[in-house]
Amino acid sequence: MAQLTAAPLSALVDEPVHIRATGLTPSQLVCLRASLSDEKGNLFYSQAYYKASDTGEVDLEKDPSLGGDFVGVHPMGLFWSLKPETPLKRLMKRDVMNSPFQIQLKLCDPDVPITNRDSSTLTASLTLERWYVAPGVTRIEVKEGRLRGALFLPPGDNHFPGVIDLFGSGGGLIEFRAGLLASRGFATLALAYWGYDDLPRQLREVDIEYFEEAVNFLLRHPKVLGPGVGILSICKGAEIGLSMAINLKQISATVLINGPNFVISNPHVYRGEVSQPTPYSIELISSNALGFVAFHRVYEQTGDVDSQYFFPIEKAQGHFLFIVGEEDKNINSKCYAQQAIEQLRRNGKENWTLLSYPGAGHLIEPPYSPLCYASRIPYVHPNILWGGDVIPHAAAQEHSWKEIQKFLREHLISTRTSQL
């Protein structure tokens, strides 16, 4: 009798799962399929083909997948290779507190996924729970002054290093990464800045004083360790994160994932000083064979080469961790990180670390998140290419998540008051 086991059945999304099949015939070819339905009912699937051992077992920690969504030994491959049934859907958990993602694992005959046969001789299946918050993490709706967002606090009575979590993309409030970071011991403020609640429906300007309010709010909180806070930011969020790090003294540690080192689209404003957006050449966008659009060349004549546009990063006092996906097709991440680092070097500064990942795309997320290769952004474009090759992208996500936590701990917790 074929059986499927997975441990743990319920865990945080950044925790690995050990999957095994037993009770097969020796050398039997099987297909393992994973499926997930997101909160809107969109289906995501992945599959891998394995050959059972002489003892009729498949162990994903040792055995290579022969084909399907990935090839080779990848114990978590079924998770990070999940793909939407409807093209261009992005997997993103909205309610992070009250429910997990449920992933169904099924054993079936190898021809089933391609021929869609109704019957299979194999029927073993199980359901996994993947949570974005650990037990005891609390979520506090933030609606103070102009601030709109959600503060996630780790369990316990301690003080925790404070981090502001900033996304880019389509605005709104994205909470999943903040929930996860809080589960790892950081008081994390998921901060919205447009397209949410009574915030502007469209982003007109980046008002750094709004973000300064957020920093002060965090530092005022009784559970937040001072004297500085960190930033975890991606894309447009990283553009803002960099601007914050330069202007606000209390920023001790800034993680910049695939962001520009110049102003994009909307002017930055801080106490009367305005930094204008960098001119771009939109005609340099290009579609690949599937019609997905790459935007990474549009600053080829300006931000890619001309230092007049660059942020004065040398003025920042805190530390930087640059995370770069070298196959980023949305922005020329590798170039911008290098430019920023060069500028720091020229000014005699060593307050930076670069993690550059070959094969990784734009949307570097927590471990085991499916690679989102392309998706739509309302009002911007129906099919934006983010890029990335699935296997190196998955490895980059695993590695960078650990490095991000190490970096934030190193620069936010001084040795005297180390709590974690």
Binding site: G67, G68, P87, I114, T115
Partner: protein, 419 residues
């Protein structure tokens, strides 16, 4: 005064079109968009961004696209880079006699990259792409078991005869046959399953059916004797190769991206039954889009010694031209063609020739056909990746079309009857 010209505005689908724009603001970056609705109402589109020169002109034969669906100088780029607005759809003309594809060319005086432009185009032009030339006749064929459509060029003939075979798409696909007929060949688009009273599913390849078709063609008063050609793609190319091996009347065979082995279903010819080799589905790979690449499933077949399923190409008396797309994601075309060529050589035969095209995918079609990178395949539950890099695939289609006609003219046309 914005002006857009496309010359010729009505032509065969394999003929190039010269597109020019004039009266633009000097050095302005504009958008050229091509749109087409197929016979089912599915929309296909492409766009490219050009910069006008100081005289306010754009000439697609000389000027590079800066971005969009292609980059660089590609005068027919708007045609071959068209993509369906709904994923996995394939562009395929069904009625090849009575109507053309109508392509609307729109010029916008700014960079428009969203699917629904917020401003109207400044000027538009309509281009018609026909799949049959003036005077080409189509005759529905229901002779004995043979089912298909015979396309005859205008005139008395006799014309070199060709059988046109497509693959697992089934039914009757006519557009390539009608285009070839427009170049002076008598072409029988031959169905072999899922058409009229033919079997609904392909359970075996009965070579006697194809022999009947070859005999039918050779008995036609407007068709040259004593030999015919075959043009075939994918599963059709496997059948075409089998025809070349076993049927003496087949003197020139073009095999595009086919296997040199009998695959999936057995081949029967009189007393002979050639067992098929089955693709190993566990080696399929899911592409980024969710579509499936089957290339390695077939590739694995090459590792096993399945002599009984290999087609005996050394028995072919006529000439064989293997056309290979090196980025074919459906089958490992190059490896199969090379095996066939090796087999010919090892038997001292010089009847084969291989043309391999880097960057080209599985569905190599007549020139300017949009690259179909992936599409639904009715047998399977998921869409299939055909592969191909757009620019390389487009130049391959142009080159191949010329080579195919040269090949047929060389080996089918008798020296006394020059075309």
């Amino acid at each position: 005064m914005f002006q857009l010209t496309a010359t010729p505005s009505s032509a065969l689908a394999d003929e190039p079109v010269a597109i020019r724009a004039t009266g633009l603001p000097p050095s302005k970056v504009v958008t050229l968009q091509a749109s087409l609705k197929d016979e089912k109402g599915n929309l296909f589109q492409s766009r490219a961004f050009y910069r006008a020169n100081k005289a306010g002109e754009i000439d697609l034969e000389q000027d590079p696209a800066l971005g969009g669906d292609y980059v660089g100088v590609h005068s027919m780029g708007l045609f071959w880079s068209m993509k369906p607005t709904v994923a996995f759809q394939r562009l395929l003309k069904r009625d090849v006699m009575n109507s053309p594809f109508c392509i609307t060319l729109d010029l916008y005086d700014s960079v428009c990259f969203k699917d629904s432009a917020t401003v109207p185009p400044r000027v538009s032009q309509m281009v018609q792409r026909w799949f049959s030339g003036p005077g080409v006749q189509r005759k529905q064929i229901r002779e004995g078991r043979v089912r298909g459509a015979l396309f005859l060029p205008p005139g008395e003939g006799p014309f070199p005869g060709i059988i046109d075979l497509f693959g697992n798409i089934g039914g009757l696909v006519e557009f390539r046959a009608s285009l070839l007929a427009s170049s002076g060949f008598a072409v029988l688009a031959l169905a072999y399953f899922a058409y009229e009273d033919l079997p609904e599913k392909l359970l075996e390849v009965d070579l006697e059916y194809f022999e009947e078709a070859a005999s039918f063609l050779l008995s036609h008063p407007k068709i040259q004797r004593p030999g015919i050609g075959v043009i075939s793609v994918s599963k059709g190319a496997e059948i075409g190769l089998a025809m070349a091996c076993y049927l003496k009347q087949v003197v020139a065979t073009v095999c595009i991206n086919g296997c040199n082995m009998v695959v999936e279903v057995p081949l029967r010819y009189r007393d002979l039954v050639v067992p098929p080799i089955l693709p190993a589905l566990e080696y399929s790979q899911v592409h980024m889009s969710g579509a499936v690449s089957l290339q390695r499933c077939f590739g694995e077949l090459l590792n096993k010694s399945n002599h009984q399923s290999v087609l005996p190409v050394e028995k072919a008396e006529g000439k064989i031209l293997f056309i290979v797309g090196e980025n074919d994601e459906c089958i490992h075309s190059r490896a199969f063609a090379e095996r066939a060529m090796d087999q010919l050589r090892s038997h001292g035969r010089s009847t084969g020739r291989m043309l391999a095209y880097p960057g080209a995918g599985h569905l190599i079609e007549p020139p300017y056909a949009p690259l179909c990178f992936w599409s639904w395949q009715h047998k399977l539950a998921c869409p299939v990746v055909w592969g191909g890099d757009p620019v390389a695939h487009a130049s391959t289609q142009e080159h191949v079309w010329g080579e195919i006609q040269k090949f047929f003219r060389q080996h089918l046309v008798k020296t006394t009857n020059k075309l």
